[in-house]
Subunit: 319 residues, 4 copies
């Protein structure tokens, strides 16, 4: 979930409420806040805590809430984890510390020290493009022995790695293996993955939920049809800016065009100017129409998932 | 300066006092805290503030204190900058936000927004291996127009970039261009650079101060002689570990061997085990002897520098 | 297809004959020689020509033969292409020049100059890990206007790129989009890709042919079952060496274990020593058994494909 | 030395004669042909052989000629090496095979097999940006035991690596350690390096020869003065194109502006168009004037060096 902002260090509270309802109403099975798309590391700790509280309050247990606690400082991860528990969140998500990258044995030791300090179950978050390091196979293998670690979100974009992980986790049937880039949602679920955490679901939750369902059901034609719409979202909205921030800017701008929330961004990033916004506006309208023709709105009722995040069923199609 | 720690989130206060005296007594011209070698991003904000206070108090104005405020969250940089002012620090140091890397125009805008919020002069910190982005020539050129920005520390290890920066900054004679990797201190000062921020100066401050002085005076033979010792420090102490943390571990372990401070490290990193420590111990003794034969101890009196960090003279040979 | 060698600059002619029969008999739909797995750039031009001749002669038109002409020197690509025609080959395969990487407009101009000099249809070969450059979307879009260019083999391992290519090529239904890493064969064909060029098919051609067929037919269960065997090949045979050559060494050593051809390698690489070979031997036997239980040998009759390489049907499941 | 071309696969013979005289007359101490700036890998083998012959004939032993034999195919390196001997060349230069990168033990074994086949002394060529691999310290250390290997050209641009090499080679005082990027010539020679292979010396050989001499003599002021001109060459001529080919294009275009040789380039590259050429023309004139004011033409007499390439004196300031 993106973090709706009204200004520097200021939450867009009304936008947040609308966004949560848009997502829960769109059928998503869980909410992940303070990830990359949520601009987690770009927010002050005060605002992160406020976001956790307000999101949990708005969600009211209808879906599990997962909170990103990735940090370069051990203590700050623990502090935020405790706040997540007291706010009513259900699980935590952790990428490796992202300044000086740790070697695999260092990351192993880090997890061995950190996990006992955490009051909620943990999902690993593999994001090598930003953290400069992978959770490699040997490390994941060891994590399977720890019941407090319940899954892995892989945002590497490397499907060979994903298939290796699928092979590894077979001995922990309760583990949840989710994919990051939404362009890979279809194939990863067809291959046995448990869902995706997809930025575009902020805009069009039904599309991603339906795609997940079609792939999980083995309905290849339907999955291909919906996957092509996902590629259309990606091709039209995510390549307007020239920098790595382009995806975030496209999503936030699209949400503003849909009237859901403000598109203010945490610095060093700034919202699109008028010209780019006009392109996003046009694409968003086109995408809405294309999606509406394939995804009947009758199915837009909220699909309440359980509150136990460790059950793979409950985590699927997290956005 | 490394950050002496006694435990997780606990400063080694006595070690900090000894280290500051070791450095000021060793003739360094300024202190940079909360940089990469200082494990800045790995420390809790509480501990960062405590370190700033205690360091400034211990230094008592004998040399300028520069405080690293690099952060992924704008507000946290500003908060720490304000704390630095109130603690009596003299300047700030800033690498780009290091999670999702900004494009050059985004970094430009970021600086335009951030610098007016900072209550102290700012030195840029180029550290592409960890931030995934350079302060490129065009951006630095624009920064030269802002009197609040007073210099650049380049830790890229790329001397072609360094020479381009030397050319650029000629129109700001008050700017200070410092080099990061200590293996490049000699040549960068011979080429016209203003000094270095060198991790090894934690251990052997005189060596780096003398090398800086020899190079700044154009004494080529002396500079080469001392540079070879610097290479010996690097070759013996910085390659014992196999991960990027090897340099930090070598320095902190060497300081413990010298009886200056504890070698506890901020997680995800951990001090060397007994076997590596024995190697560091041996190398440290050998290096001390080699340095003592070239750097007479009579010269070890503190060299008090002025308190105005913007004067290049005052910033030189910062460690 | 690997290039069977008996010594430095010496073809293993009997091994080559056995290998061609093993592959054609295994049902592959086309042969690609002088690619990365074929050690093309590591062979002398004399040996490359001999290989082209002998392969075409042995194949006798039963399947199309595609010849890699990737080179850093324009003229050498043209020379080899002419030799391919005169030897009876059917198409050419070209990665970008791989020493100093060209920019996209430079590669565009290169293709505009090279393609008219080529006497056979051309398939592009995207291999950024080795050529340091991608055939990017805009360049591929322009290539679609040239009827002499008939397809793209993507060995980037980047499925997002692959999906973008799938979208692009819709207006050239005669184009053939093949995938490189065999671990991605299942999902790329399920997504609409036309097949794969898979190193492991040297060892177990039926496995890859059957997987292609199952995926092309939309038989998800069967495709998953066979894909898991492909992952087993990859996990057991391709990670024994520690260097990028590990895949090649595993395949060649496996072929030697199967009694098909020598495992001599073009320098700078060398065959596995006894210890690694023993591991490959064991894995190969295990894999044979696992594959035999899923892929009935009754289906091992050669599946003769047409000789027109531009028809997607004919190119599918090239190994 | 660049390779003057008149067309695809056609040497500019008159241009080659003028270029050789320009360089030998400019005081260079040796000639390196078929390197990166010489577009070696982009030329047909026929043209490479012709270039070796014509260059040796034109040089007439006035300076040593070093021939690049870098190749992906072992046999082709050997063949070119033999041709170099029979043409009268003095030494060979070899970067690692540059398609599938070898691991360090593989490169070690490669050198152990290749060097005995070479009829001339060999200089290693470290060029990781293009070969994707370094000659690492351990490998270089072993090469010091082989009297047939006589030096290393380091084009990594990494001065920390260069200093490590300087330390390593002390036990082979006959070894020659040269630097690649001309922007690093001054500091590498001041640090004890033996010279440089500098693309800009094609245009302005005296500048680089005088800079080498000033640095080798420890004349810091003069070296800085000339180094600033070298930076001016780099800043004005090498950044006009946007791709990695920009340096080559700038040099070849400059040579055409000086009337020395044609600027035709080996594909996939093409000469600058009129607009870029006009900028090169202007910069070249400006640079000529700036250089003339610092480097008196009276010193432009050829400085004949010995013919024994293994003596460090003879290899210095190779361009």
């Amino acid at each position: 979930m993106v973090t709706p902002l009204r200004g520097r260090d200021e939450l867009d509270c009304a936008g947040l409420e609308r966004l949560v309802e848009h997502l829960v109403g769109g059928g998503i099975n869980a909410l992940f806040i303070l990830g990359t798309t949520g601009e987690g590391p770009g927010l002050s700790y005060r605002l992160r805590r406020e976001l956790v509280e307000r999101t949990c309050r708005q969600v009211r247990g209808r879906v599990p809430v997962l909170v990103g606690i990735t940090d370069t400082a051990f203590i700050e991860s623990v502090n935020l984890a405790r706040h997540a528990l007291s706010s009513g969140a259900n699980a935590l998500v952790l990428a490796p510390p992202y300044y000086l990258p740790g070697g695999q044995p260092e990351l192993q030791e880090y997890l061995e020290h950190l996990v006992p300090e955490l009051p909620l179950p943990l999902m690993l978050y593999n994001m090598p493009a930003l953290t400069k390091v992978n959770y490699e196979a040997e490390l994941v293998r060891r994590c399977l022995d720890d019941p407090r670690i319940i899954g892995l979100k892989d945002s590497s974009g490397n499907m060979i790695y994903f298939h290796q992980m699928l092979g590894l986790i077979r001995r922990r049937p309760d583990w949840c293996l989710l994919v990051g880039p939404e362009e890979l949602l279809a194939e990863s679920v067809l291959a046995g993955g448990h869902g995706g955490i997809t930025g575009g679901a902020n805009l069009f939750p039904q599309l991603y939920v339906r795609l997940y369902e079609a792939a999980a059901a083995g309905d290849l034609n339907r999955a291909q049809q919906l996957h092509r719409l996902v590629m259309q979202v990606s091709n039209s909205l995510y390549h307007i800016g020239r920098h790595p921030s382009a995806v975030l800017k496209g999503i936030k701008c699209g949400l503003a065009c849909l009237g859901i929330c403000d598109d203010f961004m945490a610095e060093p990033f700034h919202r699109f100017r008028a010209e780019e916004r006009a392109r996003v506006q046009k694409h968003t309208v086109d995408l809405q129409a294309a999606i509406a023709s394939l995804v009947p709105t009758a199915n837009q009722q909220p699909r309440v998932a359980g509150t136990v995040p460790r059950a793979p069923e409950a985590n699927r199609a997290v956005h």
